[in-house]
Structures are given as structure tokens and as C-alpha cells.
Subunit: 454 residues, 2 copies
């Protein structure tokens, strides 16, 4: 009998080609071990609340009230909710046409797109047009929309940094079958960087934009970690600010799409799926095409849109909730900074491990210098060397990481990616457990000469 349409052999080949390491072999094995009762520390995904981070109070109060608008008429509402949360809930409900249960415009609620534009203007010092801002179900949905608009066939390619976040390689394989003989259409930057945690300087961004101008590339700026900065030397600077600083011709010519989300920052509201993208120097006809395709999915989820509004327009000095909001925000960001240090220092104390400091974002990407005998052992086990190491780490310690090969790495060089998100009080024990595993692993696979002298 011939295969049926949803039998594996007859599926879309581009779907089969998708590889997505963040939820790949390591994640699946970790999920199995968890089912068997092993305690797993999931550092594979930047998912702060899953590791115990508490949500910020004010935005949750506002969205809860938007979900239960009948409370706004209840004389007792003030017992559980502060007046500024009540006022803000009324404000957001007034921006909807029918509350959270109504589809919004496919680009998102106009009033929230206006708040995003005002935020961008305050951040960059240049006006921003709400009509060029589209709200999305998290940044990844926006990236997929733009890549789908850009990639015409299997001969179109996108330059992505190596190492890169595998959303990009996955989406590209989904839309483009083959990456040889290609027309390069766009360049992706992730700033602050995932998985490397670096922040791009003004000079870096200048060079990148010049390159896009010379090579006629769209710049896709993944700036979802713009709030996650753990040092003062390299603050976050948006690609858009540098582009507009450059003036014509580059500032008027280079096409830029910038992405943001409520999932990262210190909010970490991953499960809410809120995000936006902003388009700079994109012609109106293209903006309309993107609108049309967004319409097929009707509307991004409305609660996620309200989280985005709250993120770009948080409580202000003098508001009842201001001090609490600032205290909660500061506590999270300062703890993340301390955790970045504990993790980097911890990795650097391990045999054959070197690690740059996490300047921004929420990841650590140590290089693991695997001895030749470990590489041979991996080969015998039919695994890539970094996958072999990460699986052993998982089995020994419960620490679930992502092998560097999922992000791309130099030939013969091996990394892993962890988040810096485990609870601060758990961090020393995790790093001790990591060191014990790593140093024993190195002991086991190093020969007498010692790998470090090679």
C-alpha cells in the first residue's frame, strides 16, 4: 500500500530538515529522566519563572483586572488591588474593542503600538511610527513572519552569527531547502548576544550597518535582551539608534527590522507570548503585505499585548506602585548580575574550561576543551563530542544544558550553553556539582601528557 499523506516518508522535506537544539536530544533525555524521578535543573531554555523567578506584581495585577473586568465595578476591588493598577487596567481595556476576549487588529492594538513607539522614541531619541510596529505572540513569531516574507526559494539565504540562536537556522530550513549557491538577503544580529552574552559596541554596530548597506542586506536585529545588562562599560545601544545617527545615505537606505519581547528582560514573562517588531526604511507596500499575512492568524493574543504595553510603560515616580515595582526589578537584575559572576567564575575554575563573562542576555557559553580520548569515546558512542559531554553531565548531575553544536561553533572547538537563571541560592551547589563532574570527566579522558599542553 502506498504511504499515506501524513506518513513520515511523505512529509514536507523542509520540516524534516529542521533542527532545534534548545529542545533537542538533550532536552528530550532530560524530560525522560525527570519522568523517572531524577531532579533536573533545566538550564537549556531562558525560562526564568520555571526556575523560581517570581512575576513582577504590578503588571500581573493589571492583567488580572483586565481578565476580570467585572471586578472593576466591585466596591471591594481596592482591598486586593492598588488604585494605579485599577486605573491602568481601565486604560488598557479602553484600548480594546471588547476586552481581552476580542480579536484585536492583526497588527495589535493601536493604543499599545503607540506606547511602544513612545518607548522607542525615549530610548533612541528619534520619533517612531506606531504604524510600523506590529505586535506578535513573542519575538519568535515575528522573526518567522519576516523570514517568510524574505525567503523566496531554496536559493535565498540569511547571514546568521556563529554561534547563533537556533530559531534562525530552524526557521531558515523551514522556508529554504538548501543553503548553497545562495543569494544572501539579510543579516541577523543578536544583541546582547545569545548564546555568547556579548554586547555590541557603537563601533561594531556601525561596521555591521555599513556592511548591510554595501551588500544590500536587511538587518534583522534581535534585541530581546536589551534590559539584561550586567556591566557598565558596554550599555545596550539599539541598531536603530546607530542607523539613524549615521544619517543619509546609510540611515535612509538600510532596511532594518528590530525585535523585542516580554519573555526576556527581567520580566521573564515567557508563557504570555508578547512581543513586537519595528520596521525602519521598509516600503509601505511591504508593510501592507506583512499585515495581510498576519491577518491569516487573526490577532496576537491580547493579554500578551497588554504585558508589552506595561513593559514599555512601567509605573512612574509618584505612582502608588512605583517603589515596589522598582525594588522588585532591581532585586531581579542585581541577582542576575551576581549569578553571571558566580557562573563565569565557576566555569573558569574547572579543568579545561574557559568562559567569557556574561556582559548581557542570560546565557553562559563556556568552551570545553575535550581531550582527544573523550572525542574518540564520543565517536564510538555515535555522538558529537559536545553532545556526549552534555549527556554525561546530565546523567551525572541533572544539569540540562545545550551542546554548542546546536548554535554552531568553530570546527574542533566545543562549547555548551547554560542559562544564568537557576535560583541564586542554588547556584553555588550547581557549580560545585558541575566542577566535580567536569574535573572527573577530564581526569578519566586525559592521557598522561595532559591535554592542556597539546
Amino acid at each position: 500500500m502506498s504511504p499515506k499523506p501524513l506518513d513520515y516518508e511523505t512529509l514536507n522535506e523542509n520540516v524534516k530538515k529542521v533542527a532545534y537544539a534548545v529542545r533537542g536530544e538533550l532536552y528530550l533525555r532530560a524530560s525522560e529522566l525527570q519522568k523517572e524521578g531524577k531532579k533536573i535543573i533545566f538550564t537549556n531554555v531562558g525560562n526564568p519563572h520555571a526556575l523560581g523567578q517570581k512575576p513582577l506584581t504590578f503588571p500581573r495585577q493589571v492583567v488580572a483586572l483586565c481578565q476580570a473586568p467585572f471586578l472593576l465595578d466591585d466596591p471591594n476591588v481596592g482591598i486586593l488591588f492598588p488604585a494605579d493598577a485599577i486605573a491602568r487596567a481601565k486604560h488598557y481595556l479602553s484600548l480594546t474593542s471588547g476586552g481581552l476576549g476580542a480579536y484585536s487588529d492583526s497588527r495589535g492594538l493601536p493604543g499599545i503600538r503607540k506606547e511602544v513607539a513612545e518607548f522607542i522614541e525615549r530610548r533612541d531619541g528619534y520619533p517612531s511610527d506606531p504604524e510600523l510596529i506590529y505586535l506578535t505572540d513573542g519575538a519568535s513569531k515575528g522573526v518567522m513572519q519576516i523570514l517568510n516574507t524574505l525567503i523566496r526559494n531554496e536559493k535565498d539565504g540569511i547571514l546568521v552569527p556563529v554561534p547563533q540562536y537556533p530559531l534562525y537556522s530552524a526557521a531558515i530550513s523551514l522556508f529554504a531547502a538548501r543553503m548553497k549557491g545562495i543569494t544572501v538577503r539579510a543579516m541577523v544580529i543578536i544583541n546582547p548576544g545569545n548564546p555568547t552574552g556579548q554586547c555590541l559596541s557603537e563601533a561594531n554596530l556601525n561596521e555591521l550597518l555599513k556592511f548591510c548597506f554595501q551588500e544590500n542586506l536587511v538587518l534583522l536585529a534581535d534585541e530581546v535582551y536589551q534590559q539584561n545588562i550586567y556591566q557598565d562599560e558596554r550599555p545596550f545601544i539599539s541598531a536603530r539608534k546607530i542607523l539613524l545617527d549615521m544619517g543619509p545615505p546609510i540611515g535612509k537606505e538600510v532596511q532594518l527590522v528590530s525585535f523585542h519581547t516580554v519573555s526576556k528582560g527581567y520580566w521573564g514573562e515567557c508563557g504570555q507570548r508578547g512581543g513586537y517588531f519595528e520596521m525602519t526604511n521598509i516600503p509601505a507596500k511591504t508593510v501592507d503585505e506583512i499585515y495581510k499575512v498576519a491577518s491569516v492568524s487573526l490577532s496576537p493574543n491580547v493579554p500578551g499585548q497588554i504585558f508589552m504595553g506595561l513593559m514599555v510603560n512601567p509605573p512612574k515616580p509618584g505612582d502608588i506602585s512605583y517603589l515596589r515595582f522598582v525594588a522588585e526589578s532591581k532585586a531581579i537584575l542585581e541577582s542576575l548580575k551576581r549569578r553571571a559572576h558566580i557562573m563565569t567564575d565557576g566555569f573558569n575554575s574547572c579543568r579545561n574550561v574557559v568562559c567569557n563573562f556574561t556582559e548581557g542576555a542570560m546565557y553562559s557559553f563556556p568552551q570545553i576543551r575535550l581531550p582527544p580520548r573523550a572525542i574518540e569515546a564520543a565517536k564510538s558512542a555515535g555522538k558529537a563530542p559536545d553532545v556526549f559531554y552534555c549527556l554525561k553531565l546530565l546523567e551525572a548531575t541533572g544539569i540540562s544544558t545545550v551542546p554548542g553544536s546546536g548554535f554552531g561553533q568553530k570546527e574542533g572547538v566545543f562549547h555548551l550553553r547554560t542559562t544564568i537563571l537557576p535560583a541564586e541560592e542554588d547556584m553555588p551547589a550547581i557549580m560545585t556539582s558541575f566542577k566535580k563532574f567536569n574535573d572527573e570527566f577530564m581526569e578519566q579522558y586525559e592521557d598522561y601528557r595532559g591535554y592542556s599542553r597539546m
Copy 2:
């Protein structure tokens, strides 16, 4: 200078080809008129809350508490929330790993997928496996996922009913460039029907499944209106129940994917973007591929998942909120039924308009018998005849409908689609305004012989 990558001329041609009538020319014109201050009655999208339908209280209480979990520790929570909503919020939070702010598994929360499986088993009388149920951001996202898995290249096609909901034609143009010389891979049914409002009988479903078996097609069953039934003669029966009733070979062989949502039913929670699809007779390797691709978007929004849990597991007799929940549900469904009658009767009272009763779903699809002179006038205006009629209707009355051509219709026959969702108290005035416009339009364009005699 050569065009830039996001200039219209160089975009993905499949994106340009997408047509989506529900938010097409009519919707854009209606939005413009609204901006100019005209009162618009948006009956183009099934968006009940936008037309004044109030959300059901119990699910909103539960989700509000899940958004504000700190309220669960507040001794005053009982002043604003009933005990069963509090208990249910605790239940759903216990199914998450980190509350609403954490990404869930890419297939959705296992505990909610279990509640969906139990609902399907109660409905159909056959067990359902939670591992074959994937939660999605509304049904349309699930449809896109499955079509993307199925359609391999421009030679693959999908049979869709005519008239059809344009999500299907839009998604197909997105994934497949051309619809000639095609391998048909799947058949779509929408039951209860959109836009026609018909309910399929057991005999219809039997025939359709036999056809899928003979022709080796996947059946994609869009059953998002399964709660929206306005008569007793043809209750909703799921494609899955009939398939399993048929037994082998058909019951074991035909591949079926069924879609559901929280956006429709009498809940109408469109803005929350909750949905699921269930796979029957789909091989495990394919299920894994769909999981992998879903992982690229990380996770469906978690509040939407909880709405889905609540929809399949509503308050039970004896629960504190039961009577209120039932009363609210009944009021909405009975009003929808009355509105279906008002609308059908209203259309049938108009000159040159005939309309079937809306047995289910939330649409009315009257046939408008346009006189030849109206068709000529449309031609002179460069419009399709039904678009011409609908635009005139919009300008004259503010009623925003969708021309039948967006759904497909027989050559030379013209329809429009409206929802039955305007508030019941507004319905008589809307139908009076429609009749006045229609009858004057017919008067203007009919010649002396009278079109009805042709």
C-alpha cells in the same frame, strides 16, 4: 539601484499571492470609515466580544487568579472570588512549572492535554491519548502547522469545500505556489460550516471518510463551532466518532486531524488565542516532527491553554459557580439561536435575497441575486459584483460584511457572509437598515422585466 530585499518587487511571491477576504478590501474600507467617525457594525469576523458579548464569569475569575497568584495567599481573596474559582486556579497553577510566565512544553501543558483527552472521550465514547493532542494559539495556528507539514511543494494540493473559510486558501497559497497538476493530499471539512452554517449528518461524514480512504487523503476536520448548534435535528457529531464507529479498515487507516478553539462556541474568547488539534491514525514519527517544528515557537501562550482546560472541564453540578455558569451559557446560546432566526428571516424578506437557516456556527450566507445591470455597474467600477454590492452596503448602512467571492461561490452566483453576532437588541434595526438598502439597490438596478423572472 537594485531593489532592496524588503522592497515589494523582491518579496516571497507566495506571500504576495495570499488573499484573505475576512480582513480584505471591505474590512480596510470599514476601518477607514470608522476612523472618519462613521458607526460601523463589524459583522465580518466571528468576534463576539467586539460586538458586546460579555465573558463568562467563572473562567475569567480562574485565569485572573492564575495571573495574580499572590492573591491566593491573601486572606481577603474570598471577598472577590468564589471558592471553586480559587481551587481551580490552584489546580491549573499546579499543572504549570512556574505559573503563566513560564514557557510550557511546546505541545502545551500535559495536565491540560489530559483534560482535553477526557473531554473528547466523554464526547465520542472512545478513549483519546493526550500525547496526540497539541495545544495551539487558536485553531488557525494549528491548521497552519499541519498544512506546513503536509504541503511539500507547489504540486501538492488540499481539497477545500466551496464556499470555504479563507484561512485555508490563504495558508495554501502561502505554502504552495500553484494549484494545477496537483497531488491532492488532504480534504478539509468545516463542521458546523463556515460560512454556510450547515451541520453534517452522520451519513455525510460516512461518505466523506470513505472518500478519504479511497483517495488516500488526510481529513482535516475544522470543528471549532461544535458548541454552536441552533436546532435539534442535526446535532454536532465529530468526524472522529464516525471514523472510529466505522471500524477497520477505514477506522484504522484514515488519518484525521481535528481542530478546536476557545474563540468560538458560546465562549467567544477570540483574543485569548487558545486551541488544540487532535491526531488520529497519525504515525509516531510524524507526531514527533510536528512537535519539533512547534518547538521552534517555544510554547503556545499559557493563559490560552488554561481557557482551553476550562472550556473542556467547566463547572459541574454542585459546584458553587455551576448555576451561574449554566445560566450565562444558556443565555448566550439561546440568544444566538434567536439571532439566527431574526437574521435568516430578515434576509428572506428582502428582494432578490434567499438564505438558508443557520443550523450551526455563527454565520449567515445569503445569496444575493444581482440584476444584470448591477453586474455591469460593478464591472464599470472595476469591482467583482459581490464586492460592489458589499461596499455600497457598507457606505449606506455601516454594515461590514465579507463578499462571497472571498469564500468561493458558484460562477455567476453571489453571496455575502455576515456573522449572527450583533447584540440581539440591535438586530431588528440592522435588518431593517439592510432591507432598506437592499430593496433600494434592487430597485435601482433592476430593469422593467424584473430580475426574478429571468
